[in-house]
Symmetry: C2
Subunit: 345 residues, 2 copies
DNA sequence: GTGAAAGCGCTAACAG
DNA sequence: CTGTTAGCGCTTTCAC
């Protein structure tokens, strides 16, 4: 903190000790519910703390023990799915002393490294990484330094826990829904991925795999049609343009993410096509927006809230016990059918 | 950070000093570009830092100087307008050593206090508060402790800077647009506010005032019609229901925020009314979503990006010079006309 | 059950 | 220009 012109100096543990007539050691112990404090001492210290409005300095604590600070790395505040995850994390942490801080805007390995370093520099007690793109080796090194939980990445490191939704199954659910409506030409828009390792770990790749697999299962293998763009609104727009330009355009477009589906809707609106009359559209993530009546997007729900609370639970466990073997939690998605999908013409 | 089983102990300033063959003071000085370092020493230290991969501990620094950490308090990650602000803040900070951390989910004075305390406990060098609801006295006390910039609140404290968009004028712009299209029965949905002080400081109140004022100016005083709900999607939905149930329902609804307008669109869709054929709809904030073709919402643009970068600039200035008089920056909004507004039937 | 004392990694006086 | 020294506020042995 910045020193003010000799205004109120911050209350320290020494002040509390003096006020309570005990040692600083005693205060420290009471504050941390440590062993070796008498009820009498506890009450005296508590009273002094309240009276003086004492708050422990996290910075000073950091030099010896923990900071009671957790960091969440968010790729993008704009993706509403991440907000659901945050809700879940926050809810689990509400009853604890931990305080959560997040960063956003990490979209490449370099800025991810910068941010995680910054979190370590600040002695955070644990990290939750949402959909990181860094190479597995980097994540591993990181997790060796600080307890870490990774969300949205199908890794199997012994050093950190992972929480994921089963993207392969989720994509299958949506293909089943569309096929059940009678669609054959069901196209998919995927997030273009070149990195070999990430191809196996990133949800986008698994969704595309799930799509392919399900298409085959429904006897629609010949109709597999994938536009490879990005998981953004623009990516959806361009993906739709590509698909609509086919000789035989699809009757249903399954976008790998809701934001992509929104871009698809933009393109269809522009092309004067009706939804779901001319083309059915489905997304993935079930962002809050998908439920808006004006949009009413059929989507796959990932239970972001549960993902978040699970991650928080695992992180606290790992902070308490470093040696616990790493867990890989996989949650089950569900299809949410709304107004943008219907039978083909 | 949590100590690992005797794995790599973190590199400290002592290690660097030994490696470079100089004192820790020297290292510290070089790192902070302080006065009194020879080129030769600088290069030796820099080399040692790189070789050892040394990173200063923010926790240790905090006990003496600054932490190079700034905090942003965000009421709600889901409001996309805040993302624009964050972009602006982040951009201004990119060239600096400062690292930004944010919290979200502060929707009442109690949780705001909890979060700001947490930031102070962690020795953050400066705070940016976005649309705080705490009483002015609390903000004042806070700003006495740590350099603070408040966004989205028309206060005039000598202790902290404020950055705002001119909400009064913005509301007037939208009324002018709708009146210019030929609308008379232009209704407004406001965020219900009871607190007397906040009535004068909060943007929502100023927007409602601006609406009233502009209606009078356009000779539409008799048509002033306000539904008082909340700045949420639900608030918009219910506000629209209220307005549509009037004997003489409005031909245009000006919502105090884009999220509210989205709820209005929901209600209109449900009621089978066309937009803008039956009813024109306008929002406020120009969130990214408003630009989506599938929505195409007419709105007031607040230049969130500029708000953010201005706030960051002011905060850094204030950290450097505590005595600089507080600034109140007011930016000018613009109307963005899209597809949800048109002439009345 | 309780407290004295050492020290976490860094910065700021102050000598040299 | 450079290094020695004394803390910052807390936790943690380790005596008592």
């Amino acid at each position: 903190m910045h020193q003010q012109p000799a205004t109120a100096r911050r209350v320290t543990i020494v002040d509390v000790a003096r006020q309570a007539g005990v040692s600083t050691t005693a205060v420290s112990k009471v504050l941390r519910d440590a062993y070796g404090t008498s009820p009498h001492m506890r009450s005296r210290v508590r009273a002094a703390v309240d009276e003086l409005g004492y708050r422990p300095s996290a910075a000073a604590r950091a030099l010896r023990g923990r900071t009671w600070t957790l960091g969440v790395m968010l790729p993008d505040v704009r993706n509403p799915f991440f907000a659901d995850i945050l809700d879940g994390v926050g809810e689990h942490l509400d009853d604890t002393e931990y305080q959560l801080f997040m960063t956003s805007g990490c979209n490449d390995a370099t800025s991810e490294a910068r941010v995680t370093e910054a979190m370590i520099d600040r002695s955070m007690d644990g990290l939750i990484l949402i959909a990181p793109v860094s190479p597995p080796a980097h994540l591993d090194r990181l997790a060796r330094t600080v307890p870490t939980v990774v969300i949205g990445r199908h890794s199997h490191s012994p050093r950190f826990d992972t929480v994921n939704d089963d993207d392969f199954t989720g994509a299958g659910l949506m293909v089943a829904h569309l096929a059940g409506l009678g669609h054959h030409r069901i196209a998919h828009i995927e997030h273009h991925e070149t990195d070999r390792i990430r191809l196996a770990e990133m949800p986008n790749a698994l969704r595309a795999d799930g799509y392919r697999h399900a298409m085959h299962q429904h006897g629609l293998g010949e109709h597999i049609d994938i536009a490879s763009t990005t998981y953004t609104r623009d990516g959806g727009y361009h993906g739709a343009r590509i698909l609509l330009d086919r000789k035989n355009p699809p009757t249903a477009i399954f976008a790998g993410a809701d934001v992509v589906a929104l871009g698809v809707l933009d393109a269809l609106t522009e092309a004067g096509l009706s939804v779901p009359g001319d083309v059915s559209v489905a997304g993935y993530d079930n962002i809050t927006l998908a439920g808006f009546r004006a949009i009413s997007l059929t989507s796959v729900d990932q239970a972001g809230h549960r993902i978040g609370s699970t991650a928080a639970r695992l992180l606290l466990e790992r902070i308490t016990d470093h040696t616990r073997p790493a867990a890989q939690v996989k949650l089950s998605p569900t299809a949410v059918v709304r107004g943008t999908t219907g039978p083909p013409r």
